[in-house]
């Protein structure tokens, strides 16, 4: 096997360390060292063919033909020891519980605003805050059945929450397909080690969605914006895995306060919509009037309690980057606990003193749009040239409230197969948290990898790839 390029000494590497290799990677590394290059190369081509044949693709916005593209899949897994995962899981449960409490609170008594923990105006005038949710009671007070939390690790290996995705987090289909692929290509690895299974995720998701409704045998559907959406593959995949209908807005209609699906045998009442459409497009009679994607009248049925939306309307206010800095205090306020997972220190540019700090230290910081997603509209100070820095200085001065800034975190690296051989590349982790009558997680999540050398942008829309994520059960031997 070709040598593995050594990681940079100032970064945390998931596999290699100054003593050689982390204990939980020992068995895998032994296997890797004994596997000929030609075999790996052949497996890589095999994976490519299979992914293409199964049609696991995503669309990239801003590219000419709205092209379908394969997300590059890396053969080297990201491995997490169970002790580490247990800690993460506790932290995720705590965080999601607090975020859900926050959502219920701001749409009801607003205790956190009255207590002055978060400025009321910042929540009430946030564009993601949905006035329509005020006073609306949801079964089990459950706003966020599906959460995808983005985690990164700093140079000491400490985990940080980078982002809470509470709207329509995507990527879980890649988690499932990556595992299937790895088991197909390398069955011997799964015999030698006890890797925690993830393939029951669709069952858990269906249970979670069904439990969100009070109906006896609730009818669940997946609502997609359609085939041109970047995550259409995932919508179709999850519907098929759960065995529920995949619908577009035009397949549903509202009558007598309830939502129905048009079927060949006549209308059928729908109880739960796993919607992969943003709030603004859900009901053209209530929100964006130009939306052709949604279901006219849906908001009236929703407010009357006759349909469940997963996730609820108006959850975006809790994962908004301007609210993110307050999450640790939410945990203290609602749960009376100290946060288990760290937040990344964040400067909120709407605060004058934060803005002036950011302007003075722009070349050290990452600047992000408050409402941005997918790695668009951000500045990575240390990698930016003079023009880009000046452009952002101007943007910050013109509209400070639109931006936050964070220190450049040295994301951890993981050895990855690249054209030059095996080299360290930056990664993050998106575990998926399902909240129903109880909170459930499948161990691990989606590991995204920035394939370009030195790049910190892991988003698939910006050339990122993915890895299978293993949580090892029991202690590594």
């Amino acid at each position: 096997m070709t040598a593995i390029e050594q990681p940079a000494p100032h970064l945390y590497d998931e596999m290699l360390c100054s003593e050689g290799v982390h204990a939980h990677y020992q068995a895998y590394l032994r296997w890797l060292e004994n596997t000929p290059d030609a075999t790996l190369e052949q497996k890589r081509r095999e994976a490519d063919t299979l992914f293409r044949r199964f049609g696991i693709t995503f669309n990239v916005y801003g590219e000419e033909e709205g092209t379908e593209r394969l997300i590059p899949f890396d053969l080297i897994p990201r491995i997490i020891p169970s002790s580490e995962w247990n800690h993460l899981e506790l932290g995720l449960r705590q965080r999601v519980t607090a975020l859900n409490r926050f959502l219920h609170d701001i749409y009801h008594d607003q205790e956190i605003l009255n207590a002055g923990i978060i400025p009321a105006e910042q929540v009430l005038t946030n564009q993601q805050f949905q006035t329509a949710m005020l006073g609306v009671d949801l079964p089990g007070n459950n706003y966020i059945p599906i959460t995808g939390v983005d985690l990164i690790r700093d140079s000491n290996g400490e985990y940080f929450v980078l982002e809470d995705n509470l709207r329509t987090p995507s990527g879980v289909s890649y988690m499932l397909e990556n595992r299937k692929m790895m088991m197909r290509l390398f069955p011997e690895l799964f015999l030698a080690q006890s890797v925690a299974p993830v393939e029951h995720y669709p069952n858990l998701l269906l249970e979670t969605l069904q439990s969100a409704s009070d109906a006896d045998s609730p009818c669940v559907v997946v609502l997609t914006p359609g085939r041109y959406n970047s995550a259409f593959f995932e919508h179709a995949f999850l519907a098929q895995q759960m065995g529920v209908p995949l619908v577009e807005g035009a397949d549903l209609f509202v009558r007598n306060g309830c939502v129905f699906m048009r079927t060949t045998t006549g209308p059928r009442q729908v109880h739960v919509i796993y919607r992969r459409i943003d709030d603004a497009f859900l009901d053209p009679l209530a929100f964006n009037p130009d939306s052709m994607l949604g279901v006219p009248g849906l908001l009236s049925a929703y407010r009357d309690g006759n349909i469940i939306l997963a996730n609820a309307l108006g959850t975006g206010v809790a994962d908004d980057k301007s609210i993110y800095p307050y999450v640790p205090n939410m945990i203290r306020f609602y749960l009376d606990e100290e946060p288990i997972l760290n937040n990344v220190p964040t400067w909120v540019c709407r605060r004058e003193e934060d803005l002036s700090y950011v302007l003075d230290h722009l070349e050290e910081l990452v600047v992000k749009e408050v409402h941005g997603a997918g790695g668009y509209g951000m500045l990575i100070g240390p990698k930016a040239n003079r023009d880009e820095l000046n452009k952002f200085r101007q943007l910050l001065r013109d509209n400070p409230a639109n931006y936050i800034a964070q220190p450049t975190l040295c994301l951890s690296t993981c050895p990855t197969m690249v054209s030059e051989g095996i080299a360290p590349r930056h990664i993050d982790l998106r575990p998926f948290v399902l909240s129903g009558s109880e909170i459930k997680l499948v161990p691990g999540g989606l590991t995204r990898v920035a394939l370009r050398e030195g790049s910190l942008v892991v988003n698939s829309s910006q050339g990122g790839g993915t890895k299978d994520t293993w949580v090892l059960e029991g202690n590594p031997c």
Partner: protein, 287 residues
């Protein structure tokens, strides 16, 4: 003053519509300022009554039989208080009405215009009298003239145009208030005016000053709504619109609406009848 209202909205389509659904905010509610004596709403199809985000009565009307037209008629009588009755309505936190929307966003020109009404002492919020000055200045700057703007025009569009109707006046006034830090909301309803220039279907604004909602009818230069019957309020026109619908099929649409507002507690000889008709030929994309 006792008013009787007869409001008909009539849609006809070039070709058959297979399915349509409307959000109707055509049912006024009794409050300190208005007492609803009787009211009747007549619509086709399946009608479901509920309460919307802002506490307005909302009828959701679904017609799922093929049709080539829809007629909606609201009729009733109401007693309007002679004096303004500002309401301390906190069902929705007033701060929510600081939110902007595409229709009520300020432009550079609107901010420039509003700057003069900002109190010199930043700790003090403008009071009702300062908002009346703002309202008067706004009507002077943007005189009432129909046909210059359309139903989708934003505050910024109308301000740039230099003319507007009640919807535009309300949107601009709301944009100014919110920019000054004063919660403001859009009101749709009817007015019984002294002349025939304005159609009886009307829009005005309410602003939250001194812990209550005060009315500002910019188009009529009135700081009290004692000739007004309120139907609904919201962030902007789209939220408070009396009729908002979507349909499948139908091709081009023509909409005819008339609202008749009569004063019924005076003698017949003193009755003033106000009738207005608005015809709108709208080429709408087939949905």
């Amino acid at each position: 003053m006792k008013l009787s209202i007869d409001h008909v909205t009539d849609f006809t389509y070039d070709t058959e519509v297979t399915h349509s659904i409307q959000y109707l905010r055509l049912t006024p509610q009794s409050s300190a300022g208005q007492q609803i004596l009787q009211w009747h709403l007549d619509t086709p199809g399946n009608v479901h009554r509920t309460i919307d985000t802002y506490g307005n009565v909302l009828h959701v009307c679904t017609v799922d039989q093929p049709h080539q037209g829809i007629t909606i008629r609201a009729q009733g009588t109401a007693e309007i208080s002679d004096t303004e009755q500002p309401e301390n309505d906190r069902r929705i936190p007033p701060e929510v009405f600081l939110r902007t929307s595409p229709l009520t966003e300020t432009s550079d020109a609107i901010r420039e215009f509003t700057r003069g009404f900002r109190p010199t002492n930043e700790q003090v919020q403008p009071d009702q009298h300062q908002l009346i000055e703002l309202m008067d200045a706004l009507l002077e700057r943007i005189p009432y003239r129909s046909g210059m703007t359309h139903v989708q025009s934003s505050a910024a569009d109308a301000f740039a145009q230099g003319f507007g109707v009640c919807q535009d006046h309300s949107h601009i006034f709301i944009a100014c208030c919110r920019w000054l830090g004063i919660p403001a909301r859009y009101v749709s309803g009817y007015v019984h005016a002294g002349d025939d220039q304005h159609i009886a279907s009307h829009a005005w604004a309410e602003a939250w000053v001194e812990n209550a909602w005060y009315s500002f009818d910019v188009s009529n230069g009135l700081s009290h709504a004692n000739h007004h019957l309120k139907l609904a309020h919201g962030i902007d026109y789209l939220d408070a619109s009396p009729v908002r619908g979507v349909r499948w099929g139908g091709g081009a649409e023509s909409m005819r609406t008339y609202a008749l507002v009569d004063q019924v507690d005076r003698r017949a000889s003193q009755q003033q009848r106000h009738q207005a008709q608005r015809q709108q030929e709208q080429q709408q994309a087939q949905q």
